[in-house]
Structures are given as structure tokens and as C-alpha cells.
């Protein structure tokens, strides 16, 4: 796509560099002249918020690693030392642990945004799938990070999650022993989780690079779901428009993040994780971090080990197939009256599953979790394929400019 301006080097050094590594003109094309649709709303600032959170996690993580000891007899104490003795240690740790929650909060909004506005549809399938890969890597990173403080929830969460692999027929047990480096979760497990927890965020950064590359090839989707036809009429340059809007989005998001760090730093955590890991005693009620709860609820709703594990992974994997499961020709949910209703049912289903994942697996909770699991899968496998064939959609504006003018 042609941008709003071209990079014209004036200074001699810049010209010299441009002839050797055109990084400045590349940045100019990507973040200054890049055409962004005129009609973007604030849900589009979450990409920038996510980039910010990734950097925040890497910076706080690297400094925490300067004080943390990945050894099972010392890990818990080293985290307590960070909290009590290390200068600003409490703040850095709270920033990192709440940062993970903020990161997931932002990614869930980002994903629901994509679903509502049909951002996964052609030609953005690869962009979407790269997003699902980032989501998986984030889950692995968050899970392994939560193991590091080596509290009771760290230990038993790690036990339950690694045991998911024992459900694999025939080789499951060998795989879990290999993952643990022993016959149960122990020091070798902690050590390798630390190594991978340090590595994966950089892998995420690399995949984010591909994600943004794919985005800049196909262009951004927008609330009306029509592509840019005339750069001058339909779009505005990235800088200053998107830069400023994203900055405001990040600033408001930071208020929430700071509120968690400074006022309720342990609200999203579990008190049991301030008890050192004890391999001889399971806490009465194991709950994963809040951002895994919907998937955990699906796992528990099925009274068969293998089927439960398969359903849980399928719930995540289905996301990657959305571009083909949704058969509607109309991209944005704004022009799909029936889809809108089912979208909100789906959002309520996901939140409901999250609530049930935190409740004990008994009585009415189990039944409710089963119903909502069915509803979750039905959205992907029944509603989306069928809706595209039967729904009567509203007329879609011809261009972004028309959509914007129609509002005024």
C-alpha cells in the first residue's frame, strides 16, 4: 500500500546509512506514513497496549532474574528476599506478576475485537493464526512463570498441568517423566521452566514481528470491515493520528495497571502461593491463574481424562480455524444482526466458564460447566458455519469515507 509521504533523507549521514541499511525509511513507511483507516475506534489501541506490555514484562523479568534463584530449596526464599530486601523489589515483582494479568486482559480484548469485527477473514488468515500462536506462547510463558516462586499453587499447578500430557495414549507417562526430569515435579522441572520462561518472551517478540509484518502487508481491518480504496479519502497517516491515539490508550491502561500494582497487588493471585511448595500435601482447592480458568472449566466438565484434555486443547486450537468456520461474506459484526447476538452469548459463555473454573467441581457447578462447554463449541462448530448461510445482513457501505460521512 502506498503511504501518505515518502522518506527524503537530507542529512549526509542518513543518506550514507540509507544506502547500506534502509532502516530509517522502513520505520518511516511502517510507523509514520503508514495509512490507517479513518474509522478506527479505541478497541484498535490494544495492539499497541500489548506491545507495551511485552516490553514491560521483559524489562521487569530481566531485573527480577538478577535476584531470583531457580533451585527448589531456595526459589521461594529468593522471591521473599525480592519482596523484603531488594531495593524496589516488591514493586518490580508486583509489576511483573500483575503485568502478566494485564497482558492477558489486553490479549483477550484484542481477540474479542478480532472476532466481533471479523478481522480473521481473508486476507488476514495468516495474521490471525500468528496471533493464535502468540496466545499459545503466552500461555506457556505465564504458566512457567507462575511455577517460579515455588509456592503451593506453583507446585500443584505445575503437577496438574504437566500431568495433562500423561493422557496421551501409550507414551504419555514417558513424556511426563521426560518433562519433569524425574518421577514428579521437582528441582529439574523448576530449573528448565526458568530457562524456558526466560527464552519464550523473546520468541514471542519474534512472532510479534511476523504478526506486524503480515498486518502491514494486508492492512488493518476496521469497524466497518471495508478495505481502504482511496488512501487520501479513507485513511490518515499513522503519525500523528494512530501514534497519539495509541499513546492515550496506553496511558489509560497504565492507570489500571498501576492501580493493581499499588492498591491491590495480590487481588488476582492466590494466598496459597505464599506457602512454600510441599510435595506431600495438595491444597484443598487448586485453581490456576484467572486467565486459564475458562479452559480449566472445560477440562473439568468432562468426566474422562483423555476426553477432558482433548476438549481443553481443542477449545484453543479451534481459534486457528475461525477464518474457515465463519462462512459469512460480510466481515464486520456491525452489519450482522444475528451474529451480534451470538457474539455476546459467546462472550458471556467465556466469562461464565471462567467463573465456574474457579468454583469447586461439585453439584450444580459441574452441570453449568457442561452446558457452557457445549455452548462454547457450538459457537465455533454450529453457529458460525450456519449463520453465514442463513443470516440476512445489513447493507455494507462502499467505502470507509462513506461510512464516516454517514455518521455526520
Amino acid at each position: 500500500m502506498h503511504g501518505h509521504s515518502t522518506f527524503e533523507p537530507k542529512n549526509g549521514f542518513v543518506k550514507w546509512l540509507e544506502a547500506r541499511l534502509p532502516i530509517l525509511s522502513f520505520s518511516h513507511e511502517s510507523f509514520v506514513a503508514y495509512p490507517t483507516p479513518k474509522n478506527l475506534n479505541y478497541w484498535w489501541t490494544f495492539g499497541a497496549i500489548l506491545s507495551f506490555m511485552l516490553v514491560a514484562q521483559i524489562i521487569t523479568g530481566v531485573v527480577l532474574a538478577m535476584h531470583y534463584t531457580p533451585e527448589s530449596t531456595m526459589a521461594f526464599d529468593s522471591v521473599e528476599k525480592i519482596m523484603r530486601d531488594v531495593n524496589w523489589g516488591w514493586m518490580l515483582r508486583y509489576a511483573h506478576s500483575n503485568g502478566a494479568s494485564m497482558f492477558f486482559f489486553a490479549v483477550y480484548i484484542h481477540m474479542f475485537r478480532g472476532i466481533y469485527y471479523g478481522s480473521y477473514k481473508a486476507p488476514r488468515e495468516v495474521l490471525w493464526i500468528l496471533g493464535v500462536i502468540i496466545f499459545l506462547l503466552m500461555m506457556a510463558t505465564g504458566f512457567m512463570g507462575y511455577v517460579l516462586p515455588w509456592g503451593q499453587m506453583s507446585f500443584w499447578g505445575a503437577t496438574v498441568i504437566t500431568n495433562l500430557f500423561s493422557a496421551i495414549p501409550f507414551v504419555g507417562d514417558q513424556i511426563t517423566v521426560w518433562l519433569w526430569g524425574g518421577y514428579s515435579v521437582g528441582n529439574p522441572t523448576l530449573n528448565r521452566f526458568f530457562s524456558l520462561h526466560y527464552l519464550l518472551p523473546f520468541v514471542i517478540a519474534a512472532v510479534v514481528g511476523l504478526h506486524v509484518w503480515a498486518l502491514h502487508v494486508v492492512g488493518q481491518n476496521n469497524p466497518d470491515g471495508v478495505d481502504i480504496k482511496d488512501v487520501k479519502k479513507d485513511s490518515v497517516p499513522f503519525t500523528p493520528h494512530a501514534t497519539m491515539k495509541d499513546s492515550l490508550g496506553i496511558a489509560v491502561f497504565l492507570l489500571l495497571y498501576a492501580w493493581f500494582i499499588f492498591f491491590v497487588p495480590n487481588y488476582l493471585g492466590d494466598a496459597d502461593n505464599y506457602i512454600p511448595a510441599n510435595p506431600m500435601k495438595t491444597p484443598p482447592h487448586i485453581v490456576p491463574e484467572w486467565y486459564f480458568l475458562p479452559f480449566y472449566a472445560i477440562l473439568r466438565s468432562i468426566p474422562n481424562k483423555l476426553a477432558g484434555v482433548v476438549a481443553m486443547f481443542a477449545a484453543i486450537a479451534l481459534l486457528a480455524f475461525l477464518p474457515w468456520l465463519d462462512t459469512s461474506k460480510v466481515r464486520s459484526g456491525k452489519y450482522r444482526p444475528l451474529f451480534k447476538i451470538f457474539f455476546w452469548i459467546f462472550a458471556a459463555t467465556a466469562i461464565g466458564l471462567g467463573y465456574l473454573g474457579a468454583m469447586p467441581p461439585e453439584g450444580g457447578y459441574v452441570l453449568a460447566a457442561r452446558l457452557l462447554s457445549v455452548s462454547y463449541f457450538a459457537f465455533f462448530l454450529v453457529i458460525l458455519p450456519v449463520l453465514g448461510l442463513v443470516e440476512k445482513t445489513k447493507p455494507v457501505p462502499a467505502t470507509i469515507a462513506d461510512a464516516v460521512l454517514a455518521k455526520h
Partner: protein, 172 residues
Amino acid sequence: MASASTVEPTRRDFLFIATGAMAAVGAAAVVWPLINQMSPDASTLAMASTEVDIGSIPVGQIVTIKWRGKPVFISHRSPKEIEEAQNVDVATLRDPQPDSARVKKPEWLIVIGVCTHLGCIPLGHQGDYNGWFCPCHGSVYDTSGRIRKGPAPLNLAVPEYSFLTDTKVKIG
């Protein structure tokens, strides 16, 4: 069929495939240590067996000991518990096993205390069958440690053990 002279494999094809095969073997030889280093190391494998004095465990009590980093339950079963374990139609069980195949002496049940669902430690003398109840996702085991209800697929595993004397067992 026409003469196959043009498609006949040449010396170059042979060398190409042989070289490729050697490269694949070499790559596998390099990758294997990188994967295998994650398996339990020599010190973990060498973890000795454990000897336990069971003379002091009263009838009706379950004692938990640690073996290979895992809990092992030693249950001194009461006559009622033994009877409950034996009077079961084995064919109706999810993981069919008679009680006699799970004990060496009926009064002593020795099982690994790891739920076969996702690895939590079940609580003794609880649940509908008065055996064990797993708090994580609600699996219920009977007085023989057999799975009766809930998501776990298998009975609590019986470790290798032997009675050294009437009051001493060696586990492992």
C-alpha cells in the same frame, strides 16, 4: 513402455541421496542428546529404595511416606475395610482388578498416593467408598485404592515392595 534410459538413476542421484541420508543421520545424532538431557539424570535414577517400619501403625490408620519424591500410602486395613475391598464384583470396575492382586497381605495395602487423573494427592478415609477422595477434580477410590468415581482412569498404582520381616517393608 518406452525405453527408460532417460529416467534411469545416475551415479549423481545415488551420491545425492547417500549424502542426504548421512546428513539426516548426523542431524538426528546431534538432536538426540539435546532431547535426552531432559530425562531423569543418573542421580535421580539411583535414588535408593526405602525401608519402612510398619510395626507402629495401628489398625485403621493410613501412613504416608516419601519414595522417589512421591507419597506412598501404607494402609493398615481393618477387617471391615478388607471385606469391603473383597466383596466387589470386579467386572463392574473401571479398571478391573481383584483386591488379592493388589496386596501381598490383606491387612496391608501399599499404593502410590498420586491420583491417576492429574497427579494430586487424594485424602484418606474420605469419599463414598471410604477409601480416598481426590480434592482436585473429585475422583473417588475404594479401600483397595481402586477408582470408583470421577475422572481418573486407573487404580492407584501399587509400587514394587517386599516384606523384609513382619514389621518391615522395603519399597522399590
